[in-house]
Structure formats: C-alpha cells, structure tokens
Amino acid sequence: MVQPSRRRPGVNRRAQYGLFASYVIAVTGALFGLLLIIVARADPAGFAVLRSAIAEVTRPVSGSLQRLVSGVGSLDENIVAYVNAGSQNAALRRQVDANRTRLIEAAAIEQENLRLKKLLNLVQNTQGNLATARLIGSTTSITRRIARIDAGRSRGVLPGMPVRAPEGLIGRVIVSGPNTADVLLLTDSQNIIPVRRAKDNIAAICTGLDDGTVEIRPLNPGNNPFRPGDIMVTTGTGGLYSPNIPVAIVVSQRNGMAIGVPLASPARVEAVVVQRPYDIDLAPPLDQGDAPRNEADAAKRAQQK
C-alpha cells in the first residue's frame, strides 16, 4: 500500500502557491520540449556537442565491454566449423584453386580499367580509407537505428562520411565527437542509398525499414525485377559512397517490393572502416534530411539520361 499523496496544500497559502508554481513550471517545460521537437524537426544530429559529451563518458565502458563480448555472436559458427572441418577443407581447397585464376584475371582487368580511366581523364578520389574503428553501441530503446563507433574528429571522422565493413556497407556518419561518432545504419528508414544489381545494371533505391531489413525499389516503375538471392551494390551516384560496395541481398518479396538483408550485419561485424566521401568536390550533406533525397534525385537523373 502506498500512502496517499501529501501534496495537498490545505488552507496554507504559501503551499498553495508552491503547488501552483510547480504545475506552471512542469507545463511550461513540457510545451518547451514540444516546441524543440517541432523546431528541430526531430533531428538526431541536433545538440551534437551534448550528445558527444555523453558518448565520450560512456565510451570506455561500452568499448571495454565490447572487447569482452566480441566473438560470442559467432560462437555457434565456430562450433559448426569444427564439426564438418574435413569435408569443408576439401571443398575450400577446390574453391581456392578456382578463385586463383579469377583473381589474376581481376587484377589484369583492374589495371586495364585504371589505364582506360587515365585515358578518359576520369579522376576520382579513390584513396578512401580514413580510419578503422569498432562498433561499440547503438540506440537500443528508440525507433531510430544509429550505431556508435570509437573514432571521432581526432582521427578525421566527420559527419557525412560513409562507413563500411569488409562484408559490405554499414551506413554514414551523422554526428562526430572528439573520440566517438554516431553512424546512421542503412536499415534506418531515413537512410536512402542508390544501388544496382551486381550481375546487371538495374538501378534501384535501397531504403531501411527500421527492423533490420531494407526495401529495394526499382527506379523504373513496373514489375519488380528483383528475386531472392540477388545482390545489390552501391552505384557511386551522389558522390557519397564509392561504387561497388556490397549493400544487401534480396531475401523475399512483399507487396511488389523486394526485401533485402544487409550483407554486413552491424551486430556481428568486428571492425568497420570510415571512408572519405567518394567525390571529394561534392559539398558535404548539411541537413540530415537533405542528403539522401539529393542522392535519390541524382540517381533518378542518372537513370533518365
């Protein structure tokens, strides 16, 4: 049993005024909060200084906890790998032999590509990798999908920079503090990425669905050409992400839209790489909402050409 509230002033004038004042402060505060949201349009990059100050404080704890638990997520895979080690070894050996020839061919093609680009005077910033970092946390109780990495301004990480893992794209930086940065994951519904199918050049727009999957919508209206198993890579349109970074694999179709799963699962990757924007001459995205729209528009324009 809880005792009844003693916040009853009775006939005491002073207490009555005090109670009234607390109501006034509370209502004013609540309305001020509402005003802040409307003015800032719920922008997660707002008040970046205060946010990164808190991130700096929590970084040592989440960083060291991450080091402790890393590897737990892939424990089951390691055990299964031991069980069928023999047959897997033979299969992998055959695969390595087959891949060696492919690699040699690819190296030759890359060199030819470089030569042709030089011929065309097509110069683009390709020395992209800026910093290596680890994912040390994320938003866990709100609907936005934002992860935190343990590298910040001190290592050159600035808002707008793309972040990738060896397996594929992770997202892009939206807030950067002295030693931490917040990354908008590609599964967030405000992250829109121009992509194309890896095997042919059918362009599409990849939008997050906030539940760990992405929606892949073809640029050309009509039948959805994407089937489960298709791999989507970035196009490089818009100048933010360099081309041919793996993004997602299509797993199903729902209401005429293809549903994909990111190839680099942020929950499992060990290390990520922060890259420079692909086209360095492009102005960095100023507003949180503007950048993806511009990219999408750019992709549409490129498609129309």
């Binding site: 949201i37 719920a42 989440s62 109780s141 934002i146």
Partner: protein, 172 residues
C-alpha cells in the same frame, strides 16, 4: 508503508544522498542503452530510465516536484539518441497524469501501479515513435510491441530494485 527516514546510529542521511540517489538511478537507467555494446536491429531494450522514474514516483509520491520530468527527460533524450524534447514532453505529461490519478484513487495497490506503469510506458514509446515519424522516419508502430511487453515484464523487477536502493538511501 513508506518508511520514514530513520537513523541507525543517531545520524540522518545527508541531503545529497536523500535527493541525489533517485536522480542518479534514473540517469543511470537512461545510460544503460549507451553503456551496453549492443548493436540492436530494432528497439529491443525497455526504457530503463523511464521505468526507474515511474518506480520512484509510485513508491514516493512527494519525493519530486512535478517538473522533475523536464531535466531528467532532457538527459534521457541526449543519452538514448531521441530528439531533444521528446522525453521532456512525454515524461512530464506522465508525471502530471499520475498526479491527477493520485487525486482520484486514494489508495493504490500493486496492480494499480503496474497498470499505471504499463500505460505510461506505452504512451512514452508510442509518443517517441510518433515524434520520429513527424521527422520522416517510417518505423511502423507494431515494431514497439515487443518493447512494451518487455517493459511490462521488467517493471516489477525495477520496483524491487528501486525499493532496495531506497532502503539503502534512507538508512544511514
């Protein structure tokens, strides 16, 4: 019954301890999400800061002034990554609503508390999602259902925890 502050060895707990402990636990609850190295794919953890706030408020009706939701909500917004102002508004609205309920229901029992907490958590989570939608997020509301369920299940635990901290707080 709420125990009144009683000294064990002739000393009363310091004012910092009496007033600071509840605030510190709520702030710690807000920070739990930032401290854990989890990269969640959807909202998974219950809003621990809010659960601590509700537990303290329902245990001690007169512990805090009405406007405590403003500063604690602002800290929660900054710690969880929600737009600043979202928890400021929602938490204060919850505090005022509980005050109204306290005027109607004179004696609350355990199940009343749980129901109040459940409604308050659902209100705050759905409100937060609504604010995100205003800004252009397209997260569907059903994504929050598991989180509301975890919160409802976690609330009794949080009350026990708060009560334990409370015992330490008032027993010098």
């Amino acid at each position: 019954m709420t125990p009144t502050p009683q000294s064990r060895l002739g000393a009363t707990p310091s004012r910092t301890r009496l007033m600071g402990t509840p605030v510190a636990t709520v702030m710690f609850g807000s920070l739990i999400g930032a401290l854990l190295p989890i990269v969640a794919q959807s909202p998974t953890l219950p809003p621990f800061g809010l659960l601590f706030l509700l537990a303290w408020r329902l245990l001690h009706p007169t512990l805090w002034p009405l406007w405590i939701g403003v500063p604690l909500g602002a800290f929660d917004d900054l710690a969880t990554g929600a737009p600043l102002g979202s928890a400021v508004f929602l938490w204060t609205a919850v505090m005022i609503a509980i005050e109204m309920i306290d005027r109607r229901i004179f004696w609350r029992d355990y199940w009343n508390d749980w129901l109040i907490a459940l409604v308050a958590v659902a209100f705050c989570l759905l409100g937060g999602a609504l604010f995100a939608r205003i800004a252009g997020s397209h997260a569907p509301f059903w994504l929050l259902l598991p989180q509301i369920l975890w919160s409802a299940l976690a609330y009794p635990l949080m009350v026990r925890l708060t009560a334990t901290v409370d015992r330490w707080r008032i027993m010098a």
